[in-house]
């Protein structure tokens, strides 16, 4: 394509042009004035004008310019809404399907444009690939961030923007002012056109919003405020809502229930409840939607609470006062983060206190019933130190104590003559939640002195790192040991007896284990105070005792410092979409990693393994891999999961396992509000100078004009310079002659 035009010779400045134009104008005015006042014949001014023009031509030397070039198609950016929400239906098809069809139409319609297709959701928009079904989809639809990303990107700015969405944007929101919407396009200097992929709301009752005031703190009441929405012509009146906690190996525990009275399509209900256990807790909120609800995916939410503790609330019960009890109490009392409730048995039935009545004593009855019924859930951890369960009527509460552990409580049983078998715990329900088995026959303890031996797991466990840093592999000489059976499957033995056997292996002396949602520790000795009060303990300035118990209580309370690995999902888990687990271990030598996955809320004993799959799709009880040398983070695909709560357990080498609970939702917050918002899309288009079209009307969208880009420019003079000069001279001469003839000179 070429274009022709006139120009002037090179070197003619703008100032010269202006001067010349002024002189010509003066000449013209003079000629007209002369013609009128001095009655000159008409050919005199005409010859004057002609000579002035030819003189100007001699000065300017006009050239003919021929330009050859191409039309550059305008850059148009299409922003496709990638929110998981677009999985919702718009008629018979999903909004995603409608959006993809609209994109196809856009490609056809904007053939004369350079189309860049980006997906937006959270943060800057990213190029959209053809097959992105495996890619995680965002929850939000943040158009503002996507536009800001375009603004900040280097290179050519788009001439036009096309947004394909259902309008339920997280930013700008439906309450944005016209000025705010106008600013979106102004910054980029381009109109924003919008394509609406959905126009009407489906009949739907949903949990639109679930929020709490403040953070979740263990044992403190938390008010969950739910906003229930009812739209699409669905008849809603009172909708029942239940809140339950998903637990390990236990049926879900009901936390709260209520009903939402829907007025004007919206209801708000506040459901207070208390979470007793700290850490990641999964809470399922269920809305009983009326018949006709077309979006059941948003009737249930599984919320994850990172429950913190103001202080760790510990119940310390000891069967008798000893130096070991003293050391533990003093350590617990010295830790400001621990809220200690202690009960020590100071008098037995056979003791003779030599008083006339009990008012001379400071003793109080051991409130065993009150403690282990009413108050038990309020404790984060229970330490049973050498206490006889039968003699002190603890026996009847052992089932509740076992349930407490499975529900997420922590338990430490410390050895002594009245602990484990000696305290009547063998064969009890509590024995089932200990990390070791308890023989029901044989001597309950052995009085032979020994130095506990640290196992490989003990060397690898972050729990014992503090003690080992102070004392190395040495431990004080213990004066006896409780009789313990072999470790339960899945439990970890950190110390073992060098001489005594439990089945085929050495007798465990310090073991860690998980049971349901909780953790338990079995310590088969009553002399850990020797880590402080002994020649060896003195070597560590007595600090080894605190280091041991800090590690044990820390591990029990899932303090991340004592976990062998940090676990997190690579992205939000959604039912029906693949998800993966990221495992970061402590730096060190190559180790084997075993990953298992369990469903929460299943009954104890129910087989929950086999959720992981191999490449061939076969279920696996556990996934094994190896982390070599400097590799500290690996990603393990967990496959495609159903809607539920899950628990991934990762064992790094021989260290105690780390656990990560997570929720997989069908809709999650993305589906919370199923209503499209075509009005918002129309307002954005209106305020930015674009147009808003339905998905079927994409064919009417006009592309912005192309930009001409010159590739060749040829200039040729209209006449040679000498000819211009000759013509100018002749015309001036002719004009002079005419003036003389007219008697003007």
């Amino acid at each position: 394509m070429s274009e022709r035009g006139l120009s002037v010779a090179d070197g003619v400045s703008g100032a010269l042009l202006v001067t010349l134009a002024a002189l010509l104008l003066c000449w013209l005015v003079l000629a007209i004035w002369e013609g009128r006042t001095r009655r000159a014949p008409s050919w005199v001014p005409l010859s004057g004008v002609l000579s002035a023009l030819l003189l100007a031509g001699a000065v300017l030397r006009p050239t003919l310019v021929t330009t050859r070039g191409t039309d550059l198609f305008p850059k148009v950016v299409v922003l496709m809404d990638r929110s998981w929400r677009l999985g919702l239906k718009a008629g018979e098809r999903t909004r995603d399907d409608v959006a993809q069809a609209a994109l196809g139409d856009l490609r056809k319609q904007l053939k004369q444009s350079r189309l860049e297709v980006l997906g937006f959701g959270e943060g800057p928009a990213a190029p959209l690939v053809d097959d992105d079904s495996a890619a995680p989809r965002p929850t939000d639809s943040d158009l503002t961030s996507a536009l800001r990303g375009l603004l900040e990107a280097p290179g050519e700015r788009p001439k036009s923007i096309v947004v394909v969405s259902d309008g339920r944007l997280s930013s700008p929101s439906e309450s944005s002012t016209p000025e705010a919407l106008r600013a979106l396009g102004e910054r980029l200097g381009a109109p924003i056109n919008t394509i609406r992929v959905a126009e009407s709301s489906p009949p739907d009752a949903s949990i639109r919003r679930a929020a709490t005031a403040g953070a979740a703190v263990a044992h403190q009441k938390l008010a969950l405020e739910l906003t229930i929405g009812c739209s699409g012509g669905l008849a809603c009146n009172e909708l029942p809502v239940t809140v339950e906690e998903l637990l390990h190996g236990e049926p879900p525990a009901l936390l709260a229930q209520g009903s939402a009275k829907v007025l004007g399509g919206v209801a708000t209900v506040e459901l207070p409840f208390t979470l007793d256990r700290a850490g990641r807790r999964l809470v399922r909120v269920k809305l009983q939607a009326p018949d006709g609800d077309r979006v059941p995916e948003n009737d249930t939410r599984i919320l994850t609470f990172d429950v913190t503790r103001e202080r760790v609330r510990v119940l310390h019960v000891a069967g008798r006062p000893t130096y070991d009890v003293r050391a533990l109490r003093m350590w617990l009392k010295a830790d400001e983060s621990i809220d200690l409730i202690a009960f020590f048995i100071l008098r037995t039935n056979t003791d003779s206190t030599q008083v006339s009545d009990d008012s001379e004593l400071s003793l109080i009855p051991f409130p065993v019933d009150e403690l282990f019924t009413e108050h038990l859930p309020s404790f984060d951890a229970v330490i049973l130190q050498d206490i006889d369960a039968v003699e002190y009527k603890l026996e009847r509460h052992l089932p509740a104590l076992a349930r407490y552990v499975r529900a997420g409580g922590g338990l430490i049983m410390v050895g002594g003559p009245s602990a484990f078998m000696g305290g009547g715990y063998a064969g009890s329900p509590l024995a089932e939640v200990l990390p070791i088995t308890l023989p029901e026959q044989g001597p309950p303890f052995d009085m032979a002195p020994f130095e506990p031996r640290i196992t490989d797991a003990g060397r690898a466990a972050p729990t014992l790192r503090g003690v080992r840093e102070l004392l190395g592999d040495r431990l004080p000489l213990m004066q006896g040991s409780s009789t313990l059976g072999p470790a339960r499957p899945g439990s970890i033995v950190l110390w073992e007896h060098p001489d005594r056997r439990a089945g085929a292996s050495a007798m465990p002396m310090l073991s860690l284990g998980e049971s349901g949602d909780g953790r338990s520790i079995a310590l088969g000795v009553d002399g850990t105070h020797l880590l402080e009060w002994s020649e060896l303990g003195e070597r560590g300035a007595g600090r080894a005792y605190g280091a041991l118990w800090e590690g044990l209580v820390g591990w029990l309370m899932r303090d991340p410092r004592y976990e062998s690995a940090r676990l997190e999902l690579t992205h939000e888990c959604r039912a029906g979409a693949p998800v993966a687990l990221s495992i970061t271990r402590l730096p060190g030598a190559a180790v084997d990693v075993k990953v298992t996955l369990q469903r929460l809320g299943g009954l104890r004993g129910e087989p929950t393994l086999g959720l992981l799959t191999s490449k061939g799709g076969q279920p696996l009880p556990e996934k094994q891999l190896r982390m070599e040398g400097s590799v500290e983070t690996v990603t393990v695909p967990l496959g495609v999961l159903d809607e539920d709560g899950y628990s991934a357990t990762v064992r790094i080498g021989s260290a105690p396992p780390a656990r990560f609970d997570f929720a997989c939702e069908r809709g999650g917050p993305a589906f919370a509000d199923s209503r499209p918002d075509p009005q918002l899309l129309e307002r954005i288009a209106e305020q930015t100078g674009g147009v808003s079209l339905g998905a079927r009307d994409v064919a009417t969208l006009k592309a912005p004009p192309a930009t001409r880009v010159a590739s060749q420019r040829v200039s040729a003079p209209l006449l040679p310079a000498w000819l211009w000069a000759l013509l100018a001279a002749v015309s001036i001469g002719a004009h002079w002659y005419a003036r003389r003839r007219a008697g003007l000179l």
């Binding site: 069967g319 008798r320 006062p321 000893t322 130096y323 070991d324 009890v325 003293r326 050391a327 109490r329 003093m330 009392k333 200690l340 409730i341 202690a342 009960f343 020590f344 048995i345 100071l346 008098r347 037995t348 056979t350 003791d351 003779s352 206190t353 030599q354 008083v355 008012s359 001379e360 004593l361 400071s362 003793l363 109080i364 050498d386 050895g415 002594g416 003559p417 303890f445 009085m447 002195p449 213990m478 004066q479 006896g480 040991s481 000795v525 009553d526 002399g527 105070h529 020797l530 402080e532 009060w533 002994s534 020649e535 303990g537 003195e538 300035a541 007595g542």
Partner: protein, 244 residues
């Protein structure tokens, strides 16, 4: 004699693995001065009373321990009793004593001749050299020492002595208890179990009160401030009201 005293202990079942966690009123030997009869029998008698009256295990044959010995820091309790000036402690003794206190140990200083007071004064002098930052203070009447097992109103030993006791308090814990009541004198026993020394003024009640106070000290060593826990407060207030 110790064998005879041990026979008074009625409890025979194991209360701990070995004796490692049991209450052990070890007697300090400093400057070559040892605890002599009849008070040398008092630590065993103390253990026996404790075992007979409470659930606490105790060592029936407590050992002597030098302030300069590393074993001083093998257990958290020791008794330093005497009737005369202890003289100046050696550098090793001062270092050992400082280490014991800084580790959290409890030291009972018992003046066997409080009327003279030479022992008490000399120990205070030496303690000031070891722990110059922590001078003795009077323990309040509400201190946990008076309610760790028995509810008692005041310290009592072989002599009635002053109604309060001084202590060196570090952090929240009274770690050095300075008695001017000859507590070991009240606890001392003959081979047949009878008391070695009469109380002043002589009364059965005073000896019983002295034993109760000794039991309270043992319980303080074993349980620290357990009875100061909030959970005990309403019970103890009721008991004290009843006693009045």
């Amino acid at each position: 004699m110790l064998t005879g005293l041990a026979a008074l202990a009625t409890t025979t079942q194991a209360h701990a693995f070995g004796d490692v966690g049991a209450f052990n009123p070890r007697v300090i030997v400093a400057g070559g001065k040892r605890l002599v009869a009849p008070r040398s029998s008092a630590p065993s008698a103390w253990s026996i009373e404790l075992m007979n009256r409470t659930s606490a295990p105790a060592r029936l044959v407590p050992k002597e321990i030098g302030l300069d010995r590393p074993e001083l820091c093998s257990e958290p309790f020791a008794v330093w009793a005497g009737s005369t000036d202890v003289g100046g402690l050696s550098v090793a003794e001062r270092r050992g004593l400082a280490k014991f206190i800084r580790l959290g140990g409890v030291l009972l200083v018992d003046d066997s001749d409080p009327q003279n007071g030479a022992f008490g004064r000399s120990v205070r002098r030496e303690l000031l050299r070891v722990l110059p930052e922590a001078p003795p203070v009077k323990l309040d009447a509400s201190h946990v020492l008076y309610k760790t097992f028995y509810i008692v109103d005041r310290p009592v030993g072989r002599v009635l002595g002053p109604p309060t006791i001084d202590a060196i308090v570090r952090g929240k814990n009274a770690q050095v208890l300075l008695l001017a009541h000859d507590l070991l004198g009240a606890l001392a026993r003959e081979g047949d179990g009878s008391s070695s020394l009469p109380t002043e003024p002589s009364s059965y009640e005073q000896r019983q009160h002295a034993i109760r106070f000794a039991v309270n000290i043992a319980m303080y060593v074993l349980c620290s401030d357990y009875k100061d826990d909030q959970v005990h407060a309403p019970f103890l207030m009721r008991r004290r009201a009843q006693a009045r």
